[in-house]
C-alpha cells in the first residue's frame, strides 16, 4: 500500500497518499483550489498562476525534532513569504496550505483581472458560455469590476479553422496549453503547438492535414474557455438548454460512455435530437476521452433517408405496409422455410435484440444457425473463458503488466484502447506489438514482432514454448484443472521459442493482457489464434486476473455480446457455404461488404432485413423493417472487455421504426412464441434468468455508479473540463470463467497452416480503418474529409513489377469480386500482399484474406 501523509489545509489536518498533487489532494477532500492550466490527467506546468496559495510547513524544533506548538497546543507553521502555485506542489508530510487568506484572495483576484484584460466579452454567443471555467471562476473569485477599458482590448483572429472539425478563437485563448499538452502527452500526436511568445502567443496546428489526430474533440472539453469549439456543435444550443442523456458509443468494441446533449429542434419537426456528443466519465472504460468517430458520428440517428415504415418488395417495387402485415408475412415465411433459415446479426445489435432474435429462430429451428456479421473474427467463447478479470482498469496498469497487441491496427480499430495502451507504455508497461506490417502503436512498443500474414499463431506458440521452459511460470499447472495440458506440452515440444526478447518481456511481467485482432486471418485461422492466446494465458497462469487476460478487438460494438448469447462467425461461414433459403438479417450490411455473402443472400428465396436506411442489403431483401438507432431506444452493449453497459433513450423516434427486439418478439408471438416483453429491461431480465454469465446484469445493477476520481463534470468544470459526471451507470464487468479458481479450463494444440500459395499475383488482406463508409458513420457528413477514398496498399516491389505508381487507379480482382481503387505505395504493405481497407468501396470485396490480381486501369 502507498504511504499516507498528513497535511494541513487552512489549519485542518487531512490524510492523503504520499506524492499526491496538492490540487488533487484538496479536491479529494472537497476543497477547491481554482485552476486553469492544471488538469488531473495532465502533468502540471504552472502556467496560469490561478492556483496561488500560501504554502508552509510544520515548524519543527531542530534540537528536539518535536513539532512546535503555540500556547493553545496548536501546531505552529512556517510560511513562505510569497504565494506559490499549488498545482506544482506535491503533498509531503506536514505540508500546510492556506487557501482563504487575504493574500490568496487578492492573488486570485488579480490573476483573473489580468486574464480578463485580454479576454473578449463574448459570453452571450460563446459555445462555452454557461459551462465555462473562466466564467465560473470569475464569478467565484474575480474582481467583479474591471479597471480597463473594453475598447482597448487586443484584437485577434476569431475564426481560425484548425482542420475541418475544430475552430479556434484566438482572443478567447488564455494560453493554458491544456490542448497542446493533451495532444503531446496523452495522444502523442504532434499536431498542436504554441507559436510566438508573450501576448502574441498563439495556438497553431503543425500537422498536415491540420489537427490530424483521431482525438481532437477532447481538446474542446478540457479547454477552460470557449477558444476551441467543434464544427459539429457550433451554436447548436446554449449549454443550459441541453438535456444530457446517457448513452454508449455504437461504433467500436471499446464501448465509450457518452453523454448526448439533446434539444427539441424546429428543423427536425420539433423532435428531440442530438446536438452534441461528449464523453461521460467511466474510469473503467474511456476515462473522460472519446475519439472523433464517437463524437461526430451520431448523424445516422436522424439523417435523411431513415426508413420510417416496413417496406415490401412487390414486382420489383417497394410498397409500404403496416407492422401487423409485416409480422404476419415473416411468420408465414418462417413456417415455410424454418428448416432452412440463416440468421445474421449485425455488430451493433444490443443484447436484447440478439436475445429476441435467437428466441425467434429457436421457435422454428431446433438448432438455428446464428451468424454474426462481419464474420472476420471469432473466439468470443474463449474470451468468456480467459478474458480479463474483475477489477481490470487499463488506465491504471503500469510496469507490472505486459500488453501484447497482435494482428490489429489498434488505433484504427479501437482508438481509446490505443490511447490507454500508449499511456500504459508511458507508465512503464511492456507493450509488444505483433503484426505483419507497421502500425502506429509500434512507436510506443518495447518490442515489435513481424511475422508473415497467416503466421500470427506461430508467434504465440513461440511464446508458449518459451513459457514452458520456465518452470517458475508453468510448474504449478495442474493437469486436473487444465484439460489437454499434456497434449499441448507435447505439441509445443518441437516448437522453437522465437522472438526471445519480446517473449521475455511478456512473460516476466506479473500480468499479461492480449489484445487480439483479426487482420490477415480467415475465421478458421482466427480461432487458432484465439486458442493460442488462451493457451499462453492458461499455461502462464495469467488468465482470469485483474489486468490480465484475453480481449478481442472486434469489428463492432457488441460482438462480444453476440458470442455470449450464442452467435458465432463459424455459423456465418457455414451459412455462406450452404446458403439457406431464408435469411433474417439484423442491422448488418453484408451485401455491400462481402462478395460471397452478397451471392448467398441474393440467391435466397426470402430475405427480411432490419435496417436504418435503404442499404444494398435492404435492396436485396424482400421485406425491410425500419429499426431504431441506438439513440431512440434503451438497450445494453457488452464491450470487448465484457463490460455490460446500458444506453438510454436519447432522442425522438423516427417514423414508425421499432427496436429490433420488439420486432423479433412480435413475430415470435405469431409463431406461438411467448408474449413479447414490454420493455428492454424486461428482456434483460429474461437474459439474466437464462444466461448464467449475465445473471447479475439486471438494469438496476448496470445503472449503479460510484464516486470516481478525478471528479469531473458537474460543478467542477474548471478542474476536469466539461466531460460529464456519470450518473447513469458504470456497467458491470462479467468475470471470465478462469477467475473461479476451481473452474475447469481447456487448452488445445493449435495447428499452423502454411500460408496457402496460389498462382494469383497477390494475397488480398482486408484491413480496418476507423473512418469508413459504414451505415452508422457515412451520414456524418462533417467527417467525409477524413474518410479516405477506396484504396489498396501495395508493396514497393509489387507495385514496380505491376507498373503501378502511388495514386494510380487500379482494378482489384479475384474470385467473384472486382473493385476499383486508388493505389497507395507507402511502405506499409509487406511484399506479396495488397491491403484493402474495408467498408470504403461501395462494391463488395472479400472480408477475409483472398487471392487477388491488381492491374492499372486508365484514368
Amino acid at each position: 500500500m502507498t504511504e499516507t501523509v498528513t497535511f494541513y489545509i487552512d489549519g485542518q489536518a487531512y490524510q492523503v497518499a504520499k506524492g499526491t498533487n496538492l490540487v488533487d489532494a484538496a479536491k479529494m477532500h472537497d476543497i477547491d483550489i481554482p485552476v486553469f492550466c492544471y488538469h488531473p490527467k495532465l502533468k502540471p506546468v504552472g502556467m496560469c498562476r490561478m492556483c496561488l496559495v500560501e504554502l508552509g510547513s510544520l515548524s519543527v524544533n531542530r534540537e528536539t525534532g518535536e513539532v512546535e506548538r503555540d500556547e493553545h497546543g496548536e501546531p505552529v507553521f512556517r510560511w513562505f513569504p510569497r504565494l506559490q502555485t499549488a498545482c506544482t506542489q506535491v503533498v509531503t508530510d506536514g505540508l500546510a496550505v492556506r487557501t482563504t487568506t487575504e493574500a490568496v484572495v487578492q492573488g486570485r483576484n488579480s490573476i483573473l483581472e489580468f486574464l480578463l484584460t485580454s479576454h473578449p466579452l463574448d459570453c452571450p454567443v460563446c459555445d462555452k458560455g454557461g459551462e465555462c471555467p473562466l466564467q465560473n471562476l470569475t464569478m467565484g473569485y474575480g474582481p467583479g469590476e474591471s479597471r480597463f477599458l473594453i475598447d482597448d482590448k487586443i484584437r485577434l483572429d476569431k475564426h481560425v479553422p484548425l482542420g475541418e472539425l475544430i475552430y479556434l478563437d484566438r482572443e478567447r485563448c488564455i494560453q493554458c496549453a491544456r490542448c497542446t499538452r493533451f495532444c503531446d502527452e496523452i495522444v502523442g500526436d504532434d499536431v498542436l503547438a504554441f507559436h510566438e511568445r508573450g501576448r502574441r502567443l498563439q495556438i497553431v496546428t503543425i500537422s498536415d492535414p491540420p489537427f490530424d489526430t483521431k482525438f481532437s474533440g477532447n481538446t474542446t472539453d478540457i479547454c477552460p474557455v470557449g477558444a476551441l469549439t467543434t464544427a459539429d456543435f457550433r451554436f447548436g444550443a446554449r449549454p443550459w438548454e441541453l438535456q444530457e442523456e446517457a448513452t454508449i458509443c455504437p461504433h467500436c468494441p471499446v464501448g465509450c460512455n457518452l453523454s448526448a446533449g439533446t434539444r427539441l429542434d424546429r428543423d427536425a419537426g420539433g423532435k428531440k435530437i442530438i446536438k452534441r456528443i461528449m464523453p461521460r466519465q467511466n474510469e473503467w472504460v474511456n476515462e473522460i476521452w472519446i475519439c472523433d468517430k464517437g463524437r461526430f458520428g451520431h448523424h445516422h440517428t436522424r439523417a435523411e433517408g431513415r426508413l420510417e415504415q416496413p417496406m415490401l418488395k412487390q414486382n420489383g417495387a417497394w410498397v409500404p405496409i403496416d407492422w401487423p402485415a409485416a409480422y404476419d408475412l415473416v411468420a408465414a415465411k418462417l413456417r415455410q422455410y424454418g428448416d432452412s433459415l440463416g440468421v445474421l446479426a449485425g455488430p451493433s445489435l444490443s443484447n436484447e435484440d440478439l436475445w429476441e432474435l435467437r428466441k425467434l429462430a429457436g421457435l422454428v429451428a431446433s438448432e438455428p444457425k446464428l451468424g454474426v456479421w462481419p464474420a472476420a473474427m471469432t473466439g468470443g467463447d474463449l474470451v468468456a473463458q480467459v478474458g480479463v478479470g474483475s477489477g481490470t482498469m487499463l488506465r491504471a496498469v503500469g510496469p507490472e503488466t505486459a500488453i501484447l497487441v497482435i494482428a490489429s491496427d489498434f488505433e484504427e480499430e479501437a482508438p481509446i484502447w490505443w490511447l490507454q495502451v500508449k499511456q500504459a507504455a508511458d507508465r512503464g508497461a511492456a507493450v509488444v506489438v505483433a503484426n505483419a506490417r507497421p502500425t502506429k502503436l509500434d512507436r510506443y512498443a518495447r518490442a515489435v514482432v513481424r511475422y508473415r500474414y497467416g503466421e500470427a499463431v506461430s508467434v504465440l506458440n513461440g511464446f508458449a514454448a518459451q513459457a514452458l521452459k520456465d518452470k517458475s511460470l508453468t510448474g504449478k499447472l495442474s493437469e486436473s484443472r487444465v484439460a489437454g495440458l499434456s497434449q499441448l506440452r507435447a505439441a509445443l515440444k518441437g516448437v522453437k521459442p522465437a522472438f526471445g526478447d519480446a517473449g521475455r518481456m511478456l512473460l516476466s511481467a506479473e500480468n499479461l493482457i492480449i489484445f487480439a485482432g483479426g487482420e490477415g486471418l480467415s475465421v478458421a485461422q482466427h480461432r487458432e489464434l484465439m486458442q493460442a492466446a488462451a493457451n499462453l494465458l492458461i499455461l502462464t497462469g495469467r488468465a482470469g486476473r485483474a489486468n490480465s487476460g484475453l480481449v478481442a478487438v472486434w469489428p463492432g460494438a457488441n460482438m462480444q455480446g453476440a458470442y455470449d448469447l450464442g452467435y458465432s462467425a463459424e455459423a456465418t461461414q457455414a451459412l455462406l457455404d450452404t446458403p439457406p433459403r431464408m435469411w433474417i438479417i439484423g442491422a448488418a450490411n453484408p451485401v455491400a461488404e462481402d462478395a460471397r455473402a452478397a451471392r448467398a443472400i441474393t440467391g435466397a428465396e426470402f430475405v427480411v432485413a432490419t435496417s436504418l436506411f435503404m442499404t444494398p442489403t435492404s435492396e436485396a431483401a424482400d421485406l425491410v423493417l425500419p429499426r431504431q438507432s441506438f439513440a431512440e431506444r434503451e438497450g445494453t452493449f457488452t464491450n470487448g472487455m465484457r463490460r455490460v453497459q446500458r444506453f438510454y433513450t436519447v432522442q425522438g423516434i423516427i417514423g414508425d421504426s421499432l427496436p429490433d427486439w420488439k420486432i423479433f418478439a412480435a413475430i415470435g408471438e405469431r409463431l406461438n412464441g411467448p408474449k413479447a416483453r414490454i420493455s428492454a429491461g424486461a428482456v434483460m431480465k429474461d437474459i439474466t434468468a437464462h444466461v448464467p454469465a449475465y445473471a447479475q446484469a439486471s438494469y438496476p445493477r448496470l445503472a449503479q455508479v460510484e464516486r470516481q476520481f478525478p471528479l469531473v463534470g458537474g460543478d467542477d468544470l474548471y478542474y476536469g473540463g466539461t466531460a460529464y459526471f456519470n450518473l447513469s451507470g458504470l456497467g458491470l464487468a462479467i468475470p471470465p470463467v478462469a477467475e473461479d479458481g476451481s473452474a475447469q479450463l481447456e487448452v488445445r494444440p493449435v495447428t499452423v497452416d502454411a500460408p496457402a500459395s496460389t498462382d494469383a499475383d497477390l494475397s488480398l488482406i482486408p484491413v480496418r480503418v476507423l473512418y469508413d463508409r459504414d451505415v452508422l458513420f457515412e451520414p456524418s457528413r462533417l467527417m467525409h474529409h477524413r474518410v479516405p477514398p477506396p484504396s489498396v496498399e501495395l508493396n514497393q516491389a509489387d507495385a514496380e513489377r505491376l507498373g503501378i505508381a502511388d495514386g494510380d487507379r487500379v482494378a482489384v480482382e479475384g474470385d467473384g469480386y472486382q473493385i476499383t481503387a486508388t493505389a497507395r505505395v507507402d511502405g506499409r504493405a509487406p511484399a506479396g500482399y495488397a491491403l484493402l481497407p474495408v467498408r470504403l468501396s461501395s462494391t463488395p470485396a472479400p472480408t477475409t484474406p483472398a487471392a487477388c490480381t491488381v492491374r492499372k486501369i486508365g484514368e
Partner: protein, 164 residues
Amino acid sequence: MNLLRGFATTLKYLFEDKVTVQYPEEERPVRERFKGRHALKRYDNGLEKCIGCALCAAACPADAIWVEAAENTDEERYSPGERYAKTYEINMMRCIFCGYCEDACPTEAIVLEHEYRLTFSDRRDSIYTKEMLIDPPPPGVPGTPQQTEPGRYTRSIPEMKDPL
C-alpha cells in the same frame, strides 16, 4: 334618501366628459413605456440586431421564447455577429409582458413595443415567428440575408453601435 343621492350622481356624470372609448373604432394612445408586442430590431444597414444568443429565452420567466441559432457567413449574413437566430418564436399566450427579455438582450434586439392587439382564435396562432416579429428593413435598404465583403464583420458580438 339614498336613492335620490344615487340618481344625483348619475345626473352629474351625464353632463361630464365621456371616458368610454369606442374600441376598436377608436383607439387611445398608450404610455411611452407601455410594454406590448415585441419587435426584433435591425441596424440601419438592414442587418438584424439579434445574434441568436437565447439570453432572452433564458431570462423569460414564462418560458415563452424559443431561439435556435445558426452561423453567419459572408455569403449569407443575417447579423453582424458570428451567429444569428435561425428560429425565433414567442408564444404570446405565455408571455406576461414583463420585459425581462428586453433587459437581457446584449444587443438591444428585442424591444416591447406598443402593439397590444393580440388576438387569435387558435392556440397555434399565438406563436409569433421571427417573420412576424422582425421590423422591415429601413426604406431603400436590403433585408437579410445579405452578401457582405469578407473581413468586414469579424466580431463575435457586434459593437453596440450601428455597424455601418
